[in-house]
Amino acid sequence: MVNYATAAIDTTSVMRGLVSTKRVPLGSEIYNRLLETLYDEAASLDERRFDDWVAYIEQDISYTAPLRLTRNGPNRDRDVVRTMKHFDENYGSILMRTGRLSKSAWAEDPPSRTRRFVTNVRIAECETAGEYEVVSYLYVERSRFDNPHNESITAERRDIWRLVDGAYKLARREIIVDQSTLGMSNFAIFL
């Protein structure tokens, strides 16, 4: 049973980074192709090609963004809280969100101009053949209206990408944002 209380933090709350130890080395064929996929995926979002973006996503996707909480003492590193989330999406809800963006979604109309910077990419093999854990750092700059100051966010993404018919598809993404109080005025964009 999930313990929803704030003070009691579940044991998974520290999990970050790679879990598997079977590393896919930098510069290898798989590493390069996955990196290229991450870049292309980021471009599809920055260029607002949502159909292209959805094409990267598997039907069984789990797309979540847990909360961060400032903690101290023995719990100082248990700061990823998975009982509450900023995103809690499945394939259907992602279609609902991208569908909404093509209509009267005033939060993105006029659209914000975004740049997603994907770095520090580390990859390992999952137990299931053809599945890869991909951990990356994400830095998003978001320019809105005529505001000369961008909104920005940094996060770690813990993904699982699956090789399907010669292309990599996103099966899981957990976005671990760094702020406990977000400075971005909404998450009308994907991370």
């Binding site: 929803y4 704030t6 003070a7 009691a8 900023h86 809690d88 259907g92 109080t181 998450f187």
Partner: protein
């Protein structure tokens, strides 16, 4: 109308210049005035009850969460005897933050600066090296505790105030009859489903505050995507003809709390084509249970609420509204994308962080006795529609900073906000709840009531 001298700004502007009660207009300047903001801190936020969280967040002795009462940082704790305390997170020694974490468990809160320590009930334990009496000799130890606010639990919600005399009953007034239907309806009450979502917006707290005074109008335009998604019934083409969700009974009380009560039969049409006609209260509750209420919990409604309250909950339940000054209530029917009904229970507070900054805090709930899968479902629904990524509130959060930006212009700030679509109050036949009632199509009455509550508190010097 009598001139009210309660507020006079440095340039001679009075409260009556800012809030024109004859014309039902508010100067845009109120959204961007530093002097007014300072007065609000004292006359509103230090004088009324503020929502800080829910007791389910701190179930065990020593549990605490850090929250804000306007710009004052406080620690909300549970002491050894189970009592909940709210105290200023300011060390009486040199002003350091005593608690630096947002949540946790501690039997003593020790200031990291020089080591003064306090119990979860705020009392002073001592300073290091007791024999040298580091805390001096001008105050006795029981004068050196953390400054405490008064606390009241309502349906498990933790409210606190710096006011010495305002009773919680006087604060709620006639809104209690309606709010009980949301917060006090089951044996074990509500449970928070995790720590709140928090984000900061560049706007004055009154911009979301007045919208939470039950602004019904903005639903059809700003939240048009609800219609396009079929979530409100009807289609994008028919919305202005059918105006779904716009008819009901709006309620306000002089304390500034407001609610929109929407006919369950109307809501029901969005889900299924079954008539509500001639059905008993119990049958209605079973056909379309209020958001968050499972079939198993229905008998508890009859146990915890009066007959009048259950009837209202079955027929024309309160669904959205606000509690003065800075709380939004969204207890909404939320159809699932895979068909079927679900719900979202969330409360927001809009915590002022300067004249041009507000922290939006989103607390998400389910009934404590609901099964795990229902809680899971409600959490997901509340995340989809409200808060940081919510498809409803994305659009709100994008609008408010634009109003804020306009409040800076020399000419713009002389513009007025207009609350002139007024219905006037009128009591529908057979209605048992109190307050001023505005049946029919939603109008500006409740938001004007919010401003009058603001006016009255600000005018009281």
């Amino acid at each position: 109308m009598l001139h009210n001298p309660g507020v006079t700004l440095n340039d001679g502007t009075t409260l009556d210049d800012l809030i024109n009660r004859d014309m039902n207009e508010v100067s845009l300047r109120v959204m961007n005035d530093k002097e007014l903001y300072e007065l609000e801190m004292e006359r509103i936020f230090a004088r009324t009850w503020l929502l800080l969280g829910h007791e389910s967040e701190i179930p065990k002795a020593g549990d605490y969460v850090m929250r804000d009462m306007a710009e004052d940082n406080v620690i909300v704790t549970r002491a050894r005897d189970g009592e909940i305390h709210v105290m200023l997170n300011v060390c009486p020694h040199r002003g350091m933050k005593v608690c630096t974490a947002e949540a946790g468990n501690a039997q003593a809160h020790r200031c990291i600066y020089h080591g003064w320590a306090f119990r979860p009930d705020g009392s002073f334990i001592g300073a290091p090296i007791e024999k040298e009496q580091m805390h001096g000799n001008k105050h006795s130890k029981d004068e050196l505790g953390l400054k405490k606010a008064r606390v009241h639990l309502y349906g498990g919600l933790i409210f606190a105030t710096w006011s010495k005399d305002l009773s919680f009953d006087d604060y709620l007034g006639d809104a209690k009859f309606y709010l009980d239907q949301l917060f006090c309806r089951t044996d074990n009450g509500l449970e928070m489903l995790g720590p709140p979502q928090r984000f900061v917006l560049p706007c004055n707290w009154k911009i979301p505050g007045e919208q939470s005074g039950s602004d019904g109008f903005h639903t059809l335009t700003l939240h048009r995507s609800l219609m396009e998604g079929g979530i409100m019934g009807g289609t994008a083409e028919s919305i202005y003809d059918t105006a779904p969700g716009m008819y009901g009974v709006d309620v306000s009380v002089p304390q500034g709390h407001t609610l929109r009560c929407l006919e369950a039969a109307q809501t029901f049409k969005m889900f299924a084509d079954v008539s509500f006609e001639g059905k008993s209260t119990e049958e209605r509750l079973n056909l379309l249970s209020p958001p968050g209420i499972t079939k198993d919990l229905i008998p508890q409604l009859f146990k915890n609420l009066s007959e009048d309250q259950v009837n209202q909950l079955a027929n024309i339940p309160p669904q959205v509204g606000g509690m003065f000054p800075n709380i939004l209530i969204a207890f909404i029917f939320a159809p699932r994308m895979d068909g079927g009904a679900s719900g979202a229970l969330s409360l927001h507070t809009y915590v002022p962080k300067g004249p041009d900054k507000v922290e939006f805090i989103n607390f998400i709930f389910a009934e404590k006795d609901a099964p795990e899968d229902v809680k899971r479902d409600m959490l997901q629904n509340a995340i989809w529609s409200t808060g940081t990524s919510g498809t409803i509130e994305q659009d709100d959060a994008d609008t408010w900073p634009q109003i804020m930006r306009n409040s800076r212009g020399h000419m713009s700030k002389t513009m007025t906000l207009k609350y002139q679509a007024l219905h006037g109050h009128e009591r529908p036949e057979g209605w048992v709840g109190g307050g001023d009632l505005y049946p029919g199509f939603t109008k500006d009455d409740t938001q004007w009531a919010w401003w009058m509550a603001y006016y009255n508190l600000m005018a009281e010097a």
